[in-house]
Amino acid sequence: MSLLDGARGSLTELSRPERWVLGVSAAFALFLLAALLTGALGPTYFLFLVGLAGMYALLSFGLNAQWGFTGLINFSVAAFFGIGAYGSALMTADSSPIAGGFNPLVGLVVALVVAFVLALLIGIPTLRLRADYLAIASLGLAEVVRLIVLNERWLTNGSAGLRGIPSFFQGWPVLSTFPEAMPGLRLVVIPGSPILLETSFWQSLLNVMLVLTFAGVTYLVLRRAHRSPWGRVLRTIRSDEDLARALGKNTYSFKMQSFILGSLIMALAGVFYTHLNLYVGPGDLDPITTFYAWVAVILGGSGSNRGALFGGIVIVTIREGTRFLNDVALPIDPAPLRLLLIGVVIVAVMRYRPQGILPPQRELIWPSAVDGGGTPETPDSGVREQKGGGSNE
């Protein structure tokens, strides 16, 4: 992750948790590479995993922009994700009951506009009030959106879901025919276990590039925003909203911006998911997605963009890693085991590192403020007691 922060972060400047994360990530990457080379992990499936990680990273970025930056409690991550997924699918899918057949770019724009309007609608009545109101309203919103998708068949196809979704680059010059145009490659690294790169591989590669672009741009935008005076106001609101108000900040407007920004990013994750999975159904709006996003953000360190990225990857690793347990005979089913594992991780983090693995302090030094001092010696001491949940007043 030091790569993302530019070349200036040499290894010695890293804090202990940063080195730890870097080490674990490197080990994990080596492990994946070994699995790829030996053929234990198919390249297409590997790319699918990267895409999924990018998607969870986006979801975590979105929630982090709300909860991590400003302290907004949003329990409708799945709803905004679903708006993105359905918004895009309804515009582009063959089987769409309302529109369909549009270019995915149109789907992207429509999804973002719908998410924007919905965020505004839920923000207007709740963001003037104390934090708990948004929490409750968003809980309701998640369920309402899910039920509409499930029941309004004329609009969403109901429980059948939507099929016939094009890939994102369909209809684009060059890129739309790229997967077919690429020759099937056969790489032999280890004799006896060749690696096949076929059309589906090139297709996945395009998807991965798409999500990496989404996630990369989002990360850079958020990083700048969080460090800036704008982000500083959000952090003030998170810590003490009345103080921000007394200093002349229009906190309602700032909270609204933070909420909308986060919701748009979640919708972006949904748009990507639609064109990765090529099928969306009401099951994609299950509250478990919201839960995963929260775990990722808290695990990574609320307020930290790098942490959100890391948390997103951890979630995907646990989610997909436990699939391999299917092959192993276990006394219990992998699905509850997965949740159990996540529960254990959360308890361990709360017990030993309540501020999360990569708390935001280190990434928050606004460039001009670095001169003559920079980071305090003990980067973690600023968060002696991180807010656990709920508001303090």
Binding site: V221, R224, A225, S228, P229, W230, R232, V233, R235, T236, R238, S239, D240, D242, L243, A244, R245, A246, L247, G248, K249, N250, T251, Y252, Q257, L261, G303, P359, P360, Q361, L364, W366, P367, S368, A369, G373, G374, T375, P376, S381, G382, V383, R384, Q386, K387
Partner: protein, 262 residues
């Protein structure tokens, strides 16, 4: 109602017949007074007299049940706190407010109002302007920290400084908002005498540079030395108003607040 409250020539803040009740209890009871530009006006009164409530009403945190508040000849009654701040009135809180996860320097930089960098759009559309203002603000913050002799705290986490230092930082930050009138709620409560003296000097100096102050304080020595005039509040209304000498020798004030002999 008290005598001689309203007709002040150049009032930067004017409170007229302000009322606020909390479930039957009149915390502010037809209070009227004005703060003349360029003064350090003291606001004293027993615990529960309604001083902090008055601050909350003036600064827009509470909506009054009746009466008006004027800042710089503008009626700001019922406005949001940020709008009141835009008219040049900044307030601090009785209990120090701590900013988690920020250094003192960063916590200071929240002070300046209307920063271009506080607009999400300008952040990306006009990065030059943003950076420029940010470095001016930073220089100003450093200057004030130095003036307050707390520049050594600049890189400390804002949660890790003492209560007295917190009061200094709050005042310093409020100055960055360039208020015309600054409301301080018990600026030296819990502050040691040396630091209190430092604060007093700072307030006096800032006042000479043009900032008007309205300050609540229980430390009589502090407030009598610093403020003139002094407004005495009792049970939500203004009991009297005058110079420290007048207030100190007023029988009603002695009964209600100062107690015993002078």
């Amino acid at each position: 109602m008290s005598e001689g409250a309203l007709p002040k020539q150049d009032a930067v803040l004017r409170v007229d017949d302000l009322q606020k009740s909390f479930g039957g209890l009149a915390a502010t009871d037809h209070a009227s007074f004005a703060v003349e530009r360029g003064t350090i006006t003291g606001l004293i009164g027993p615990n529960g007299a309604g001083k902090s409530t008055l601050f909350n009403l003036i600064s827009g945190f509470y909506e009054p049940d009746g009466g008006t508040v004027e800042v710089n000849e503008t009626d700001v009654t019922g406005m949001e706190p940020y709008q009141v701040a835009d008219h040049g009135l900044i307030r601090t809180f009785q209990t120090p407010r701590k900013l988690e996860g920020m250094t003192v320097r960063e916590a200071m930089l929240v002070g300046p109002r209307n920063q271009p960098g506080e607009s999400f759009v300008k952040l990306f559309a006009a990065p030059g302007t943003v950076a420029e203002r940010e470095s001016t603000n930073l220089a100003e913050a450093e200057r004030i920290l130095e003036e307050f002799e707390i520049d050594h705290l600049a890189t400390q986490p804002a949660t890790d400084i003492s209560g007295g230092q917190m009061k200094l930082v709050e005042l310093a930050r409020a100055m960055l908002a360039e208020p015309e009138v600054l409301l301080l709620d018990e600026p030296v409560a819990g502050v040691n005498p040396t630091l209190a003296k430092k604060l007093k000097d700072q307030i006096r100096r800032l006042n000479e540079q043009g900032t008007t102050f309205l300050l609540i304080e229980h430390d009589m020595e502090f407030v009598m030395d610093l403020a003139d005039p002094i407004v005495v509040l009792d049970q939500g209304s203004v009991l009297t108003e005058g110079s420290p000498e007048e207030v100190r020798s007023d029988d009603r004030v002695i009964d209600a607040y100062l107690g015993g002999g002078t």
